[in-house]
């Protein structure tokens, strides 16, 4: 391939038509999934924090499509799209957001903690910078076991200021580990702009002092992201050389749903929206005759329908049973199971909530809060008809509507 350091964004060769169409489909699926997740958050179907990747779809799909099936992917608390593009069923991602039994993490993790071992998606992590050492450990295991696997570790610009950034890059270079570090530079660490949190704003250069050379890609261009990550993965796999790839991008929504966005101007957001990775890629596919005019709209409708299915699935999935509360704290085996390993679960037979489950309503005192939460979740209809209309509306107005709804309904628990 051409030297990635000589290339120009927007001019990278398109892949085969079927592949290009699939990239557009997946980016569209992520966009619509995220929008619908935001709507479900406003309806209190989704709790906690919800960090959406709208605007960052090209960084996700471009990078994940450069990976092999056996490679490991590890990400952050903004990872719905990573799971989906890796092949995790969107139904189970949505069910996790809903806190249900069929969620990828059985409702234990929520938005920030997706995981799919089968797809080698090794998790979203809630601690900024916490996933970098894990990625190096995965690279170490691959190296130790003599496989050809590589690990792609995704994190945000804010994470480059954590101690684990320098520690991990140093170790990965020192031990020649097959890891690609991808910093998704969306210009803000939460609400703090890049130039206000990093003395060196060319983030791809921040690995040089640790022995990790950098590459930069246009994170609004799925082809450019694909090419650069593919080359970085090749260097990891063949040359045992870790690389720091900086993908320049922008998140169109706030940091999370509880973000009033007082730290940036509407003009700046509008400027980046002109480079919307879905619109520019769809236009390029039309211009180059890969898809016909109108075809992206058809893809969009299909993806909206797919997301609707995931919402229906999630809403129908039951909540985890109360007696499962203490499951999976430990791997039961030789060392756990005989003695008191948890104060409430001192034996395999006694689980909190187990006795109460079958009692009549008046006797379920200890489970009152469980019952209340289940009842509340059922009160609001998912309102798919209304939601579909909203998703099909213009992005800007949809965003305004969701944000207004979120701000109105946001209780103090949702402030970040």
């Amino acid at each position: 391939m051409a030297d990635v350091e000589e290339r120009e964004s927007g001019t990278g060769a398109l892949p085969e038509p079927d592949v290009a169409r699939e990239w557009l489909e997946t980016m569209t699926l992520i966009r619509r999934f995220e929008e619908r997740a935001g709507e479900m958050y406003a309806k209190a179907k989704v709790g906690g924090f919800l960090h959406l990747a709208i605007g960052e779809e090209a960084t996700i799909v471009g990078a994940v499509r450069a990976m092999r099936d056996e490679d490991y992917l590890i990400s952050t608390y903004r990872s719905h799209g990573h799971a989906i593009s890796r092949g995790t069923n969107p139904d189970r991602v949505m069910a996790e957001l809903f806190g249900r039994k069929d969620g990828v993490s059985k409702g234990r993790g929520g938005s920030m903690h997706m995981f799919d071992l089968e797809k080698r998606f090794m998790g979203g992590y809630g601690i900024v910078g916490g996933n970098l050492p894990l990625a190096a450990g995965m690279g170490l295991a691959s190296d130790y076991l003599g496989t050809e696997e590589a690990t792609l570790c995704v994190f945000g610009d804010g994470a480059t200021n954590q101690g684990t950034f320098g520690e991990t890059l140093n170790l990965a270079a020192l031990w020649s580990l097959p890891v690609v570090f991808m910093v998704t530079n969306n210009q803000f660490g939460m609400g703090t702009a890049l130039e206000r949190h990093s003395a060196v704003t060319d983030l791809h250069r921040r690995g040089e002092g640790f022995g990790v050379p950098g590459l930069q890609c246009d994170g609004m261009d799925v082809v450019d992201t694909y090419e650069v990550i593919r080359e970085a993965l090749r260097r990891a796999r063949e040359d045992r050389q870790p690389t720091l790839v900086e993908a320049i991008t922008y998140r169109f929504r706030g940091h999370s749903m509880a973000d009033p966005e007082e730290y940036r101007t509407k003009e700046q957001v509008a400027g980046w929206r002109e480079r919307d990775p879905l619109k520019t890629f769809a236009q390029r596919l039309i211009d180059e005759g890969v898809v016909e005019a109108g075809e992206p709209e058809g893809i969009d409708e299909a993806m909206i329908a797919r997301v609707d299915e995931s919402v229906t699935f999630a809403d129908r999935s039951p909540f985890p049973e109360p007696e499962s509360l203490y499951d999976d704290i430990y791997v039961l085996g030789d060392q756990v199971g005989r003695a008191w390993y948890s104060v409430d679960q001192r034996s395999a037979g006694m689980h909190r909530g187990e006795e109460e489950r079958d009692l009549d309503e008046r006797s379920r005192g200890p489970l009152a809060e469980y019952d209340k939460a289940v009842e509340q979740a059922g009160r609001e209809d998912i309102g798919l008809d209304k939601a579909s209309d909203q998703a099909q509306a213009d992005d800007d107005s949809a965003e305004e509507a969701t944000r207004a709804e979120s701000a109105e309904g946001g209780d103090s628990m949702r402030k970040e």
């Binding site: 993490s105 059985k106 995981f115 970098l132 170790l171 430990y330 791997v331 948890s342």
Partner: protein
């Protein structure tokens, strides 16, 4: 074929034997830590292992505690059985994000999809005039965390058997050694499958009058105090070494308390939120009617450890404090 033969060895040698045998037994076992290889370990626990197993399996790391523990977590999630050494428990605070937010949480927060068979070893303890940043005992900190197993071996045989059990288990283990104990000798079974199971307390001395629970090095202090109590005060103490704090063999402790009706807990860590505070709560919840006196505690002093030797010596428990605490449970009756 199992054998009952034993060899006299120091606690550090018993740990070394456990590591050596497990490295030989399982290719997936590997060691990481600061100065564990060329330097042979700050406390010589890993002495000779680099020479036998090479740099692939015995890795010197930079001074990056949080990251080397995190790499152990990542490697454990993807097929290895890493044993990470932290030079002392004091430095483990730099790695608490990886130990608590990651190692302990991952199996649960991802719905049981992945295991973290990781061991993080570290010594604790006062008595070497190392001042406020190198002398503390924090088994209570890790006991606090669901998802971790916590071992506090006192004898050479337990050090070996518990470490082998820890390496073979699929859960993350915080394995707390003691700087004073490294030089102590004991009889250690030669059997390469000598494993001491977690969650089984050892009764070090039988007695009917009072139960003394000693944690880590303080199990030895408790045994010495029991001798004084017997010889000078006609008090026969039962001394229990829990050996592991998670899981905890509370049943053995409760059985003893139901027999003696008195209990004193001895630990080197701080009193607030300590192991003794926790155990006292569990004992009064489970055996309130069996107690003839409040559960007593002897702990490290509630302060950052001072350097000056006389001050340091009175800042962590010795036999006289234990004897006094036991006798206090007999007063005013």
């Amino acid at each position: 074929m199992a054998t009952t033969a034993t060899t006299t060895m120091r606690y550090r040698e018993a740990l070394n034997a456990a590591l050596r045998e497990e490295l030989r037994r399982d290719e997936k076992v590997m060691l990481m830590g600061e100065d564990i290889g060329v330097f042979n370990g700050a406390f010589k626990v890993t002495n000779g292992l680099l020479e036998e197993f090479g740099e692939k399996r015995v890795r010197d790391t930079p001074i990056s505690e949080n990251t080397i523990v995190g790499m152990g977590v990542g490697a454990a999630m993807t097929g290895l059985r890493p044993v990470v050494e932290l030079m002392t428990i004091n430095f483990s605070l730099l790695a608490t994000d990886q130990i608590i937010n990651h190692a302990a949480a991952i199996h649960y927060m991802f719905g049981g999809q992945v295991k973290v068979p990781l061991v993080v070893r570290m010594p604790q303890g006062a008595g070497h005039q190392l001042g406020p940043t190198h002398s503390h005992s924090w088994e209570a900190l890790f006991l606090h965390v669901p998802g971790l197993l916590v071992a506090v071996p006192t004898t050479a045989a337990d050090a070996k058997g518990l470490l082998k059990a820890a390496i073979r288990d699929d859960n993350p283990v915080v394995f707390i050694e003691h700087e004073y104990l490294y030089g102590q000798k004991g009889e250690v079974p030669d059997d390469e499958d000598h494993v001491v199971d977690f969650g089984q307390a050892a009764i070090r001395r039988e007695g009917d009058d009072v139960t003394i629970v000693g944690i880590s090095r303080q199990a030895l202090t408790a045994a010495k105090a029991a001798k004084v109590l017997s010889e000078e005060h006609e008090v026969e103490a039962e001394v229990i070494d829990p050996r592991t704090l998670r899981p905890l063999d509370l049943d053995t402790i409760l059985d003893s308390v139901r027999k003696t009706n008195r209990c004193v807990i001895v630990e080197e860590g701080w009193p607030h939120g300590g192991v003794g505070a926790n155990l006292a709560a569990l004992i009064q919840e489970q055996a309130f009617d069996d107690l003839d006196a409040p559960v007593g505690r002897v702990t490290g002093a509630d302060l950052p450890m001072p350097y000056s030797k006389p001050l340091e010596q009175i800042a962590y428990p010795h036999e006289p404090q234990v004897v006094e605490a036991v006798l206090a449970t007999f007063r005013d009756l």
